[in-house]
Assembly symmetry: C2
Homo-oligomer: 591 residues x 2
């Protein structure tokens, strides 16, 4: 008999019906001659009762069941007696009186319990990923992932976007992150690269007049991994022609609004907050600020520039700045030792020290209080909007160290002091980005986003002369302190693209060899275009309330880029290498 219901969906409406269920043994209890089995499938759990008075053969099978056996049962749905009702369970008012039972497949005792309570090492989870994914919270995460893409696809389909697939075997370009390479068998000594994004192909589609493109696209970066990075990741990637930045932003606000309603059932602001990159760095010390709480950075450089406290005045003399955060009402809660620990935390972000003052009714206290007496103290506390009981933490350094260290401290206090309302989703656009970043070590400019980003029209003349002051027509979307994605208007004129490559240090020949097709395309009638890409894995992580990106990917890699389930990567045969005209510079451990 085919399955009539999923386990979790046998409701009171089915009382009096015979059902046929297929699923896994979650738990078996023997009690007073009866056998109770919690039977599980992706939808949830239902209680099956084996009673020799109903069926002796079925009960004999019930006696042999162990956890994770795959079984098929048939039986009558009955109401549980009053005392047996389990209100915490979706199917807690009913049970199934088993009259037929079959073991479809037996199971060994699993290496860890299939539930959301048991703590399991991540390596074990990844090795037995097929068991890990049986845990209800994991299934829920992938259900949500599926729902998110479904919602986004429906929106983009309705908006007239065409889903187009772009190549995975593509060309290596040294600009950007490190490529994964794929040796060619046909073209000896040559390589494909896996794409870091479909950027150039989606631009080509705009040149083709496709007008609106999207793709849920796999992307690849061979970079050292962190908890929020994977070798392959998924982007919600889109591009459109003839649209202004305002139009692109407005459409994506509607997209996010509908998706949040579909997936989380919440209404978010129709218009998102916007902030320039400069303002975000200034107020929050971050280009992806969590604006669900205050605790903003306060610039006191002007107040302390002539201070006799040389750490402050010296930093400013060296072109740096002095900022503080005011941890309201926390003076009494932080001992010297606690603050020393905060200093160590700040040091991880490059701060050479963490100065502090405790505000009291009659002035400020602490080791550096002697430098700030009378009016100096008043000026500081007024600027910091501080009152008695507040703790002021200062960092004096280059602007970027101040931002990093105080920005990180701000986030730390936000969490520890419960300043953040976790039920709130605060979307935020960051705009007015610099087009370039200067790398001191390499002595050259890099593209802050990518080399195809359109500068502000009025800044185009500065590409040659003062690249550090060129602003980009770029926009990042931030959610609760995480970068969800970023986009920009693109360069669509050959002369600007050539200038861009020149500023990035490309010779004419290098530019032509790597991006000649793009610049050629610009000469055959290219429309203005722009787009955006969102990180799907991170979006799922945030909406599913996960903290590890790996929990949002069905078969992720470890921090050393291994798949513990299938044992990839692995050695290959010499015959395979020969076909590719490759030799290893290491001992081959041929399999």
């Amino acid at each position: 008999m085919s399955r009539t219901h999923y386990c979790g969906e046998v409701s009171e409406a089915a009382i009096g019906q015979r059902v046929s269920l297929k699923g896994w043994v979650q738990k078996r209890r023997d009690l007073g001659g009866l056998i109770f089995v919690d039977m599980r499938d992706r939808s949830g759990i239902v209680q099956a009762v084996f009673n020799p008075e109903i069926s002796a053969p079925a009960t004999a099978i019930g006696e042999t069941l162990r956890n994770e056996f795959v079984i098929h049962i048939e039986g009558l749905v009955v109401a549980r007696s009053e005392g047996q009702v389990n209100a915490a369970m979706k199917t807690g008012k009913i049970e199934v009186q088993v009259d037929h039972a079959t073991i479809i497949n037996a199971a060994k005792n699993p290496p860890f319990a299939i539930d959301d309570q048991t703590e399991v090492s991540e390596d074990l989870r990844l090795k037995y990923r097929y068991l890990d994914l049986r845990r209800p919270s994991m299934y829920e995460t992938f259900k949500m992932r599926s729902d998110i893409t479904k919602s986004i696809r429906r929106f983009l389909d309705n908006e007239g976007f065409l889903e187009v697939e772009t190549p995975i075997l593509t060309k290596s370009t040294p600009e950007g992150a490190r490529d994964y390479l794929v040796p060619s068998r046909v073209h000896e000594g040559e390589f494909y690269a896996l794409p870091q994004s479909p950027q150039l192909f989606k631009q080509m589609l705009m040149v083709s007049g496709f007008d609106k493109y999207y793709q849920i696209a796999r992307c690849f970066r061979d970079e050292d991994l962190r908890a929020d990075r994977q070798p392959e990741f998924t982007q919600i990637d889109m591009e459109m022609s003839f649209k202004t930045m305002e139009e692109i932003i407005e459409m994506n606000e509607r997209l996010m609004g509908i998706m949040m309603k579909d997936v989380k059932g919440v209404d978010i602001d129709a218009q998102f907050q916007r902030m320039s990159y400069t303002e975000a760095m200034d107020r929050f010390g971050s280009d992806k600020p969590d604006v669900r709480f205050g605790l903003e950075l306060v610039n006191v450089s002007d107040l302390v520039k002539d201070s006799s406290f040389k750490v402050f005045s010296g930093a400013i003399e060296n072109g740096g700045q002095v900022k503080l955060i005011n941890v309201k009402g926390s003076a009494a809660n932080y001992s010297r030792k606690d603050i020393d620990a905060l200093g160590e935390f700040a040091a991880r972000y490059g701060a050479k020290g963490l100065a502090w003052l405790k505000v009291e009714a009659d002035g400020v206290k602490g080791p550096i209080a002697k430098f700030f007496e009378g009016e100096a103290a008043t000026a500081l506390t007024e600027r910091a909007e501080a009152e008695a009981g507040d703790l002021l933490l200062f960092v004096a350094d280059s602007a970027s160290v101040v931002a990093d260290a105080l920005g990180a401290l701000r986030m730390k206090f936000g969490k520890e002091l419960n300043l953040i309302d976790n039920s709130v989703y605060k979307f935020l656009w960051i705009t007015d980005w610099p087009l370039f970043e200067y790398d001191e070590k390499d002595g050259r400019y890099y593209a802050a986003h990518h080399p195809f980003t359109m500068p502000f029209e009025e800044d185009i003349d500065k590409l040659d002369t003062e690249p550090q002051n060129v602003r980009a027509q770029a926009y990042d979307l931030v959610l609760n302190g995480y970068e969800l994605g970023g986009g920009s208007l693109r360069i669509y004129r050959r002369d600007i693209q050539e200038k861009m490559f020149k500023t990035l240090g490309f010779s004419d020949e290098e530019a032509r060899e790597q991006f000649g097709f793009l610049m050629d395309a610009f000469e055959y009638g290219t429309p203005p275009h722009g787009g955006i890409a969102f990180g799907l894995d991170r979006l799922v992580m945030l909406l599913a309330g996960r903290t590890n990106l790996r929990d949002t990917i069905a078969f992720p890699k470890t921090a050393s880029a291994s798949d513990l389930l299938t044992s990839a990567p692995s050695p290959v045969s010499n015959a395979q290498l020969d076909e590719l005209s490759l030799s290893l510079n290491v001992q081959n451990t041929e399999k």
Copy 2:
């Protein structure tokens, strides 16, 4: 002013309105002081008229326009005068009186005309793919591709399938086609492989209880290419648990029915024809027969086994067979020379010769007629249901050569004699496949589908003893003579999977090393499961009426696996190779 309409959508309803259009110059004609511009975007073409009496500045711009310029125009929509109406054009009853015009981007003269009439070499099309994709029929193909995936996704979403992404960086397994390899930087001397299909991962998801999975999945094979093969291709991939073959087939018939209705607007049979592999080979000489026409193969082995024509009787003595096709009414249309040419055609499929007879009122004629006189001739013509004027073509050889050669001849006549109704879509399931194919050259069995296919229950005992007689619980879907895809129930028990690997010649160690995780998984409670995968590229090709798979892929590779647009593959730097601990066995042409 933002765009108000797509060009092809300015209809009579817009008469009297001012519109704002952005698009490409398809063609410009100057006539009697006016300038007529056919303006194009993805939706089609509209006529814009530049008239100095309406706007002298706009007309001055109109005079500078050339093909493929990107322009923005604004103006009033007016009805064309009676004589100017173009009924062949969607927008042929109206035109736009331009009062404002801007050149957004100029264009060089393209290397080929942007229309569907001009013949262009494929290399040139691929090099300038961004121009090739501007051709209306190309856009229509990708629109259809997008519509097909949209329809299929909607169906599978409604059926409770979960879309799950599986890895692209995975493990190399020597069984099957050649893998594309990706060297690992972190694990020196080791490699990932790009997946030939998500087969094992989708099976793992079934072990996880995900129950119903689908993915529009990119797959990769490093094989020598033909017109209908690409290094990367896309599968509509699905898998489900606890379903019988009948249930899987029935669901996929509904899927195809809805998709055909959505995309082509046609109603197809609710239940598809079914045929065993043996019957298909026997009647049509093909495992993917086009059943839109007859011209079936007729077995005459029993009639000719004692013939004095040694080619026939000898073939049967050697264990082969003799079959014919009856080309109705064609005797008069094929000269000896024509038939010699057919013989050369058959030779490409391995036939050593093509015997023939022309049926006349008083017997059969032709070089071998002397062997078939009186009753022998009658027996043949009766079996062939032949009458005067028919042409009988015979192949005598091994069963596989007979099938290949006559199957190919059948298709050739089907096309040349217009026996095929191209408006018809005939879906057909091929079932009862052999589980193995024996390779004479390698002296071993290979899996006819893949090593995870479930044998018929009643054949499991034959895995060890007579593998050639084991049938597979596999099913292919054929549309109009093309294999759309194939699927099977899968092995879900360790003992059967072990037997399977053994028959395929794996040592225990090899099986464990490559597929240990799969066999382990089978021991932790694996449900019975099965699925299917369809080739999306081929499906698009058939429904869009294309003959070249490359026309269904936005950025395809050539027959030598090159991307002519971006010049991939390409040499990489020695630094990149060093990081991967690789050396080339060929001269490095470092870029």
